[in-house]
Subunit: 191 residues, 2 copies
């Protein structure tokens, strides 16, 4: 049974992850200090190492948390996964992915491999939801998954720069139609 | 007839654009000064306003230059456009797009609208090369183009973070197969 103390510990952890996600999105990983994060979360700075070890541990927790939010949409069979992913990219905190990406591709970036694991987990999670018949002839599942995850990343980038130019709902529909349409057409199940 | 002076002017301009592209990719737009750019280009700093007006004018020239390099690949009918785009993302200077994107999505970014124009020009340029039959039933050309440009942006992001995990050649082939395959299948021209 969870004690009150366990609950408080979990709540502190949650607040620290949320504050770090906001700050990494706003000012990047490098420029964000434990002091900033503790202040935003309203929690003593000394507890951060206790929860996460170091700043990379905290980054890992933030990425895990965001990743789970994306993948949850894909694993809930009652919802349309593409609608949910397009809904996720609308969240202010999703900007985090763009800010951290720029730092991850810098020479000798300490966060590159952490970011690479995020992409790999996205490919793994989304790849499992590609319908069997959706692969065009001669196309491997791996390349197709890179393309699918790439489309989500790049649609997010375009929408974040110019939300008025990108109709996320229509794009989610296009992604769905492309995947399901290809398999339907191949099965002779044309509408 | 171009005089020697015209040629020297063009050459200076070219060197400044190339130096600015490198520096924007390495350290971002905000942190790059005219002094840095002049030093890298080996050209007097006083000539930058003469060529470009201000720093935003120089950014515009850099983005135009990079955009032309992408779209040239699409407009050369002898080459495979997807191979050429995948070749472009391999260039070190293509990192520029990721670095500037992160700055463009910051609150009150001075470069946001310039970056939005780049995306719009990419959609316009690449959109013209979508084969007529490639649109899945019920999918508009606009949403499909956002998806196509998004795939290129997002494949670039994944490759730049972890080149060993992304086979650019296979992904270019998947993109081609997806576009051409969908139209071939619809035409009953199945292999």
């Amino acid at each position: 049974m969870a004690t009150r103390r366990d609950e408080r510990t979990q709540e502190s952890r949650r607040l620290l992850v949320a504050a770090a996600a906001e700050l990494f999105a706003e000012q990047g990983y490098r420029r964000t200090s434990f002091i900033d994060i503790a202040e935003r979360a309203g929690i003593s700075r000394g507890s951060i190492p206790w929860h996460f070890g170091n700043k990379l541990g905290l980054l890992e927790a933030v990425l895990d948390d965001r990743l789970r939010a994306v993948l949850d949409g894909f694993d809930r069979p009652s919802d349309d996964p593409f609608d949910r992913v397009m809904g996720f990219v609308r969240l202010p905190v999703a900007r985090l992915f763009i800010t951290l990406l720029a730092e991850a591709v810098e020479a000798d970036s300490p966060i590159r491999e952490h970011y690479a694991r995020l992409h790999a987990a996205l490919r793994d999670g989304l790849g499992r939801h590609i319908p069997e018949g959706a692969l065009p002839p001669g196309v491997g599942a791996e390349a197709f998954t890179v393309l699918l995850v790439g489309a989500v990343i790049g649609v997010h980038a375009q929408w974040r720069v110019a939300p008025e130019a990108v109709d996320l709902e229509a794009v989610g529909g296009a992604l769905r139609a492309l995947l399901l349409g290809a398999s339907a057409l191949r099965d002779g199940d044309q509408p």
